[in-house]
Symmetry: C2
Subunit: 403 residues, 2 copies
């Protein structure tokens, strides 16, 4: 496996585009994205578990029920959620794109992200579809930009890998910066691959991957209404179609994981207002479910997040967050280490503080990527959660998001 350029256009037969169509007031920010496969592709999705779901999710679910799709269209600036005519608008988006691309509207995956509860006007999208289609090309970058909301950094990645002797490619883009605590789905993630794989195995690979990647990210504990990850696999790499578990499926899953792990870390590091990526590596738990709950509890604690912002080795807050996670744990066996490229420092052993250099701790915690390593001593299960610090800018961004 090798990291390559190209994002969602790295795989054979995929083109992308991103344009400004007028949903946003700010004309310098693209707001309409498109990813198209030149042939119909196997398609798998996972969706938000929020009971309040965006209209695009309902329409996408219906469109991909047969396991196939050809295109993904996504607007930013408006989530098309909690609107009386939401489904109608999302359906129109598919109809307009289908007509422009000469494909069935039912082969379109549709997504929206932005403000909830504000009616989405179809006019700018209707007039934007033609320029969007005209802009199709090797433009993963433009699509990645067009799906951004409060994101500061574009998030894209691609890898080449081999299945059955054939060179395959996989790449993805995603957005996500606030309202992020994915639950069995995530913010918006779009992945493309030219590997040949059946819809059932594609769904199996994606469903198995997400709990350890996107679902381990939390910016603020708020699970969005519009979370979705979609993968299109068009088979143009020419490998024998993956239709069962085995070495080919494993190779595919490893490549998929490389993409999703990178994108998950990127989302956490680009959390709204974040200055630091925080990775909680928890080991020694009795079982995996408990490990996940405990690691997420630490990553979600506003007090831990503020301490990380201030480079303050306040490990008591880490223990506190473990204690209220609702997982039976022997506190007297817990140890906590903070580490980063500046070094590693043990701050708590057997549930109690140990002497440590505040100076070194400050250095370790002043880096832009920090690990909180927790050893429970209760068993052999582990989990890794991704998050960020809580800063003045998070408050600023979200104090007046709609205007």
């Amino acid at each position: 496996m090798k990291q390559i350029e190209g994002g969602v256009c790295a795989a054979k037969g995929f083109q992308a585009a991103g344009v400004y169509c007028g949903i946003r007031k700010n004309k310098s920010k693209k707001d309409l994205a498109l990813i198209v496969s030149e042939v119909k592709a196997a398609c798998a999705c996972v969706y938000t578990q929020n009971l309040v779901q965006g209209a695009p999710i309902a329409v996408t679910k219906a469109n991909v029920a047969d396991g196939y799709a050809s295109a993904i269209v996504c607007n930013s600036g408006n989530a098309n959620t909690c609107n009386a005519n939401g489904v109608e608008i999302a359906t129109q988006m598919c109809d307009l794109l289908g007509a422009a691309l000469h494909i069935p509207a039912s082969d379109v995956v549709v997504a929206s992200t932005g403000v909830i509860g504000k009616p989405l006007d179809i006019s700018p999208i209707a007039s934007g579809i033609a320029p969007l289609v005209a802009a199709l090309g090797n433009n993963s970058n433009a699509a990645a930009e067009a799906i951004m909301t409060t994101d500061v950094k574009k998030k894209e990645i691609a890898f080449s890998f081999t299945v059955g002797g054939k060179a395959c490619h996989i790449g993805g883009i995603c957005k996500g910066s606030g309202m992020i605590q994915p639950n069995m789905a995530t913010m918006l993630g779009f992945i493309t691959t030219d590997a040949s794989i059946s819809p059932a195995m594609l769904q199996k690979a994606l469903s198995a991957d997400v709990p350890n990647s996107f679902n381990m990210v939390s910016i603020d504990g708020d699970t969005s209404t519009n979370d979705m990850v979609t993968i299109l696999a068009n088979g143009l790499a020419g490998n024998a179609m993956i239709t069962a578990e085995g070495v080919d499926f494993d190779a595919f899953c490893a490549a998929l994981s490389a993409v999703t792990q990178y994108l998950s870390r990127s989302i956490a590091g680009d959390g709204e207002g974040a200055t630091k990526l925080i990775v909680c590596q928890l080991a020694g738990a009795k079982d995996h479910a408990g490990a996940v709950k405990l690691a997420k509890s630490v990553i979600n604690s506003p007090l831990v997040k503020c301490a990380m912002f201030g480079a303050d080795a306040n490990w008591g807050r880490v223990l506190c967050a473990l204690g209220y996670a609702g997982v039976p744990t022997d506190v007297a066996r817990i140890s906590v280490t903070f580490s980063s490229k500046a070094g590693s420092i043990l701050v708590c052993k057997n549930g109690a503080g140990v002497d440590f250099s505040e100076e070194l701790a400050k250095k370790v915690l002043s880096e832009s990527e920090i690990n909180i390593e927790i050893q429970l001593g209760d068993g052999s299960a582990s989990a890794t959660a991704f998050g960020c610090d809580l800063t003045y800018d998070y408050v600023k961004i979200n104090g007046d998001y709609r205007t």
Copy 2:
């Protein structure tokens, strides 16, 4: 029932004190508090459900196991939690106070609040006990100040009420500003009354009250390791002892509720960095447990909290928080109204936005006390949760708490 002056000294036979003994560096901030009943009092407590519990909680549990206590001693500046010698120190605090007051050490309730995981030196407390006892008097104020950490406002209240024709009094103080999401207990709350009531009925009253008062407060979703509410009832009002349910017990519970509701709202309004008290009044739920979960989910959402800080009527975030609360709800029946003393404004009906004046919404949300009224239309259960906005100052306070 009538609101009166005096806090925890309003009830007959109670004295209080607060002094600076040297646990904190800042000499202008009192750090040792005492409440004493001149006769032994029935005592009831509720405690944090965090698995990581402060040493004072273990010692208090043992001391009040017989249902009686005479004094409450509490230090701020150090939580005496996650320390190898924590129980030893908490026991010494009881021994020292018992000797000074000529009461058994086992009649002392001990509490600590402040940094977790920093050894607590007994010396300043040992030398502070004598001046603390010497300062006993009608000093509820001083005790309320001595238990404060990042609290900005002192929190105390008292009421007079009648049981069986006898004038009774009840008063309380509390602290709590961050690490606040009480779970079957709370931050620190100390309540005194001269009503005569058996330990069993006192515990029953307190246990029934807390789920609707302190446990409905959330500042940041972090459940503290040292939460505790204690009530002492010394019987000096001379009413026939309350030993069963009935009108007397009801009168007592109503007075207790007046104290705890006031203190709960005070804690929420004085949340770390808060500029506004947010009250989520949720009605029309299928059952009470669901109503509690839904109301708390809204109160805890960082995005809702930031919107309230910015006086932004972003009701979509309210629906989002309801949607991820894990309670089955028919989104299409939800309505949301924001209200304050500046007016009332319906922003969402049947799960979708309605036209509203942004100008009026800004006015309503610019007040210092805001209600988020939610009607689910699913049933007749309701719940009210108390919280605050999320501000720059919360981040500032918690970015470098230890230094």
